[in-house]
């Protein structure tokens, strides 16, 4: 599937801000099933300085700074890319989850070593006993890891209410668990946290969903905005994505921007500014399918 994506973020301030510095994770990652043909980042007013680099996980970071007083900032990310559906992960004959967890304890191969860092707690995801109890229902002894993860994805989708008013960016996972409500970021954090308490490696994926569903299919939650889901290390099957917000295994409707240990690593736009008085922000995302490749 080919997509044209336009992601516009607008800030406006009541007083001029003399300086601002920003870094953004808005460029789609190059992946086996995902090729980015074009990426453009437009910033107004024109930055005095800009550049890009790869972060620790290999995601592209664009950074820029504005040195002159400004009362607004518009960041427009435009990408043109093609996505193919990944091969479906074998569900029932995947490795038992304990075997995967064990391999991460004493990582021997470069793959398990690279995965092992996603077992550790991170900024938004501390260890929490409450979570492992919930998760264990899906992870019976010897359960195949992919099937168990998918069962957990399904249960979160069923047991948790999608409610943008229930949480904000800084709501701890623990509170999400107690409230049984949240948004995609919360569900991704929640499932990652559960898997990590079991000793599995799970990472946070930031990206988009296609805006208009294919004919006859329901419109998915999280279109018209940034979306988030997770990816789990499943041993020989490698990394498999799960979207607890929509109870699906992402395929060609999901576009991956970046991954990290949690939201803090891949926040779409980060910035520090001086002055500015009171301020507001609007976001719009348009994921426009251009047809099959």
């Amino acid at each position: 599937m080919k997509y044209r994506i336009t992601h516009i973020t607008k800030y406006s301030y009541s007083d001029p801000a003399p300086v601002c510095h920003n870094q953004v994770h808005l460029a789609p990652r190059a992946l086996p099933g995902q090729t980015c043909d074009e990426f453009r980042l437009l910033v107004t007013p024109t930055p005095s300085h800009r550049g890009n680099r790869a972060d620790y996980f290999g995601n592209r970071i664009d950074y820029f700074a504005i040195d002159e007083p400004h009362v607004g900032l518009t960041v427009t990310a435009q990408s043109l890319l093609s996505v193919t559906s990944p091969p479906t992960a074998p569900m029932d004959d995947s490795t038992p989850w304990e075997t995967v967890a064990h391999s991460l304890k004493r990582p021997m191969s470069p793959e398990t070593l690279a995965a092992a860092q996603f077992v550790f707690p991170s900024h938004h995801i501390p260890y929490d006993k409450l979570l492992s109890d919930y998760a264990l229902t899906s992870f019976s002894a010897g359960a195949p890891v992919v099937a168990a993860c998918q069962d957990l994805t399904r249960r979160i989708h069923t047991d948790f209410r999608y409610d943008p008013k229930a949480t904000n960016v800084n709501t701890p996972v623990h509170d999400v668990m107690l409230r049984r409500a949240g948004v995609c970021q919360d569900f991704a954090h929640l499932q990652i946290a559960m898997l990590r308490t079991l000793g599995l490696a799970a990472r946070y994926v930031s990206g988009y969903l296609r805006t208009m569903p294919p004919p006859g299919k329901p419109r998915l939650i999280g279109a018209d905005a940034s979306h988030a889901w997770l990816s789990v290390f499943c041993g020989p099957q490698g990394w498999v994505d799960f979207d607890p917000t929509n109870n699906v295994i992402p395929s060609s409707d999901h576009i991956t921007l970046a991954w990290g240990r949690d939201y803090a690593d891949v926040c779409p736009i980060q910035g520090v500014f001086v002055g500015g008085g009171s301020h507001s922000m609007t976001i719009s995302v348009d994921v426009n399918p251009l047809g099959e490749t």
Partner: protein, 860 residues
């Protein structure tokens, strides 16, 4: 140095004398079970101590006490007491210096230094690997927990490409001697090691106190180390710039390291800056100065790594500069120590160091570290749990600043609870062997006591090698507990003497450079924040002087034999005190004569009332507070005067009467004059001087206008006594008498106070100086015509110059005060406007930075 001492030290010691036990250490009892620095187990003195104690004995205890008193005074005045705002009343030099140094012979020290060099190189290699290829993890030398559980491992520190910059320009280690006399490392400091300033200060004080003994002992000099440090930082500059701008990034006066920062930056010749003084523009770190933004090439960093860039790291910190990390990646600036270097100072590192040394260098550690077990390994956990009572339990990952409290908390837990705590989270704890530190004599006001000593040693990486400071900061403790725990038992500090066998070469930091410096004038580097503080220091010092002069005139009259109630000028002088804000307004009303007795009684207390904003005491508190913020900008002598002023102007005891007050005011005025003289004679005419003097002139103008206003407007008939009092306050009585003898009249008094531009106390003189300063302030090149500050200054000067004092006085005597009043009101309005205009143009900062993520951002 007394005559007898210098003679006897060169004369051969008679055989009889060697049998006499040196007296200084007679009362010193070396404890059993430790290595004693001074005595051998058989009770005789070790060799270097034998010589030192003999030399000290020749000086005699009394001479030593005298000299020590002088040295302590020096320590005190230099402002080693570095509490938050340098308030000496809360004097808080954390390490009381004592005159008995720690003595180490060169041969022994060379082994220690070699061990430290190896250790620094090892930690350097560790950091380069963990923030780079991480082969130590892939090879299984270190468990993944080592980095991924470490709060100091932040992703932005990671280097994709190997860069030439080392992590550890500065390295420090805490050392102690075990019972067999061998040295052990207790801990490493790699983030931003502190203590170097104290080591230097201790040396300066002690070598000044015992110059001959110091010289004869062949003590190795510290200066070469600091030359290496400067070279280390200079060579970091991007593109190897020859004369880079090096700035010490301090955590500011609120931090406990501030004294050191100020002391070291002055010694090394670097600008002392805080986060608010820096700004990253077009990927280049800039210092905000009066002359505009100036590029900074090297930062000597004191805040923790994570506090240095709110964009990529701790978003709430104001200690660094937004965009700093990217500037470092782009190599427009270098930071020492490199970001992330604090990772190596965690206790968990010590558990792996012997293995690391084998894995990386194929050798054993040359200087052992205290045995450490990381509870994340099963066998270590078992060992720690089995020996819980014998070990010190520490968090495996060090959070700089918070460790002491945590270790103490763990220490106080009952053993069962401690075991539970460790078992619940074994990977977060280490157990460490307890080290009994060596004992050493500590001098305490003529008595010698037993203390236990730890030594902080320093190394700097320059020209491809780690250079170890021949010396260090010796810290002494009343107990032999672990470093984190023994703070409460009282800390002291000592100079450390590395004793060479032959005389050492004298080196100074002033040694010639390879390349000649380009001559420079002026001080474009002055951060706006400093200019602001200096401006206010000028205003406050002048305010203190004006207040003290007015007060003295009042107190002199109250204590005169005439009796205050008969003095006709008294009501107006008291009104001036009220207008000046020095006392509560209650006293200004009619019938002051009845209130005089109570006024006299309560005046000393009112003057000392620090809670009343206009009182002389609170003005002096402000003076001191502001002065301590710019301590690095005023000379050491000027600072000493500041300390003196702050200390001397305090009531001698509970009962302070008017006579005491008068004495204190007189002394204060002399000190203030000394400060002004110091400023006039010693301060280079740079922007610092300009803003200081501008502040003074403005304040003096404000005070003069106010005084004339209080005494002459709405005051009825002017008695000659009042004129005399006003001349006295305005320090112009002598001039008046020389010109007009005893005949006191209004017109010449007003002329002398307001319009006589030859009198440095007159209003006209202040306005002329202000105009000159304002003209010379840095200006934007594109600006056309006069600035608003210039126009204001010129208008006021014109008003005063055009005022005809004879005509005004004549009208005044006829009952028409309007003309005088109009001029005074005009000036009274414009002076604050001028002050604000200067602040707006040069001094006001842009506000603190904010996170964009504070703006509600919701991902659906």
């Amino acid at each position: 140095m007394s005559q007898s001492q210098s003679q006897s030290s060169s004369s051969p010691v008679s055989p009889a004398a060697t049998n006499v036990r040196p007296s200084l250490l007679t009362s010193y009892a070396s404890p059993t079970g430790t290595f004693d620095e001074a005595r051998l187990p058989n009770g005789t003195l070790r060799e270097p101590w034998n010589k030192l104690i003999r030399q000290l004995d020749q000086l005699g205890t009394n001479e030593l006490i005298d000299r020590w008193a002088t040295a302590e005074r020096l320590v005190h005045e230099n402002g080693i007491a570095y509490s938050a705002f340098g308030t000496p009343s809360e004097a808080a030099r954390p390490w009381q210096l004592d005159p008995l140094p720690l003595l180490i012979r060169e041969a022994e020290w060379q082994n220690v230094a070699a061990g430290l060099q190896q250790r620094a190189a090892l930690l350097e290699a560790l950091l380069a690997d963990l923030f780079g290829p991480q082969t130590l993890l892939t090879n299984g030398v270190l468990p993944p927990d080592f980095v991924h559980l470490h709060p100091g491992f932040r992703l932005p520190y990671h280097r994709h490409k190997a860069t030439s910059q080392n992590y550890l320009q500065c390295y420090a280690a805490d050392l102690a001697r075990a019972t067999d006399g061998s040295w052990w490392v207790l801990g490493d400091r790699t983030e931003a090691p502190s203590g170097l300033g104290f080591a230097l200060e201790n040396r300066v004080v002690l070598s000044a106190m015992l110059p001959n003994i110091f010289r004869e002992s062949h003590v190795q000099r510290l200066a070469p180390f600091f030359i290496s440090l400067r070279e280390a930082l200079r060579s970091l500059a991007p593109k190897r710039k020859e004369n880079p701008r090096i700035v010490m990034l301090s955590q500011g006066p609120g931090n406990r390291n501030y004294f050191e920062d100020a002391y070291l930056s002055r010694y090394l010749g670097y600008t002392l800056a805080e986060g608010a003084d820096l700004s990253v523009r077009s990927n280049q770190v800039m210092l905000k100065t009066l002359g505009g933004l100036l590029p900074v090439e090297v930062l000597l960093r004191r805040p923790n790594s994570e506090d240095c860039d709110p964009l990529e790291l701790n978003g709430f910190s104001q200690l660094g500069a937004t965009g700093l990390l990217q500037a470092v990646r782009s190599r427009t600036v270098a930071v020492a120590n490199a970001f992330g270097s604090g990772l190596a100072e965690s206790p968990i590192v010590m558990a792996f160091l012997p293995r690391l040394c084998q894995a990386l260098f194929g050798e054993d550690l040359k200087i052992p570290g205290v045995a450490t077990w990381w509870c994340g390994e099963a066998s270590s956990l078992t060992h720690v749990l089995a020996n819980l009572g014998k070990l010190v339990i520490k968090p495996a990952f060090r959070q700089r600043g918070g460790e002491r409290q945590l270790v103490k908390e763990l220490q106080e837990l009952p053993l069962e609870q401690l075991a539970e705590r460790i078992k619940a989270n074994p990977r977060h704890y280490v157990g460490q062997e307890r080290i009994t530190r060596s004992s050493i004599p500590r001098w305490d006001n003529g008595n010698v006591q037993t203390a236990f000593v730890a030594l902080r040693a320093f190394a700097v990486y320059a020209n491809g090698a780690h250079h170890v400071l021949p010396g260090g900061l010796a810290r002494t403790f009343g107990s032999s507990e672990s470093l984190e725990l023994s703070l409460a038992s009282g800390e002291g500090s000592k100079d450390t003497w590395i004793l060479a066998d032959k005389p050492v070469e004298h080196v100074t930091l002033l040694s010639p450079h390879k390349h000649a410096l380009q001559l420079r004038r002026g001080g474009m580097d002055l951060p706006s924040r400093v200019a602001d503080n200096v401006f206010w220091l000028g205003r406050l010092v002048e305010r203190a002087e004006a207040s003290a002069r007015l007060l003295r005139t009042v107190v002199t009259r109250l204590t005169s034999e005439t009796g205050s109630s008969t003095l006709v000028e008294m009501p107006l002088l008291i009104r001036a005190l009220v207008d000046n804000g020095q006392i509560e307004p209650g006293f200004a009303v009619e019938g002051i004569k009845q209130q005089l007795p109570s006024f006299e009684r309560s005046l000393p207390a009112m003057v000392q009332d620090a809670s009343h904003p206009g009182s002389l005491r609170s003005i002096l508190d402000e003076v001191f507070r502001v002065a301590s913020k710019v301590r690095d900008r005023i000379s050491i002598d000027s600072w000493r005067i500041m300390v003196r002023i702050d200390e001397a102007f305090r009531p001698p005891d509970q009962h302070c009467d008017l006579a005491d007050l008068l004495t204190m005011i007189n002394e204060l005025l002399i000190d203030l004059a000394a400060f002004s003289g110091m400023v006039m004679e010693s301060m280079t005419r740079t922007e610092v001087f300009r803003f200081l003097d501008l502040g003074r002139r403005l304040e003096r103008a404000v005070q003069t206008v106010q005084l004339v206003n209080s005494c002459f407007v709405d005051s009825g008939k002017i008695p000659g006594e009042l004129l005399e009092a006003i001349l006295e306050i305005g320090d112009s009585l002598m001039t008046y008498r020389a010109r007009y003898h005893a005949d006191l009249q209004l017109a010449p008094v007003l002329d002398l106070l307001l319009t006589d531009d030859t009198n440095p106390r007159s209003l006209a003189f202040q306005l002329e100086a202000i105009e000159q300063h304002v003209i010379s302030l840095p200006r934007y090149e594109c600006q056309v015509g006069y600035s608003s500050e210039q126009r204001l200054a010129m208008t006021m000067l014109h008003t005063v110059r055009m005022a005809d004092m004879e005509a005004i006085s004549e009208l005044y005597h006829l009952g028409n005060q309007e003309q005088l009043e109009r001029i005074l009101i005009d000036l009274d309005t414009k002076l604050p406007v001028l002050s604000n205009a200067i602040s707006h143009r040069y001094l006001i900062h842009i506000g603190p930075s904010r996170q964009m993520n504070d703006i509600e951002l919701h991902i659906e």
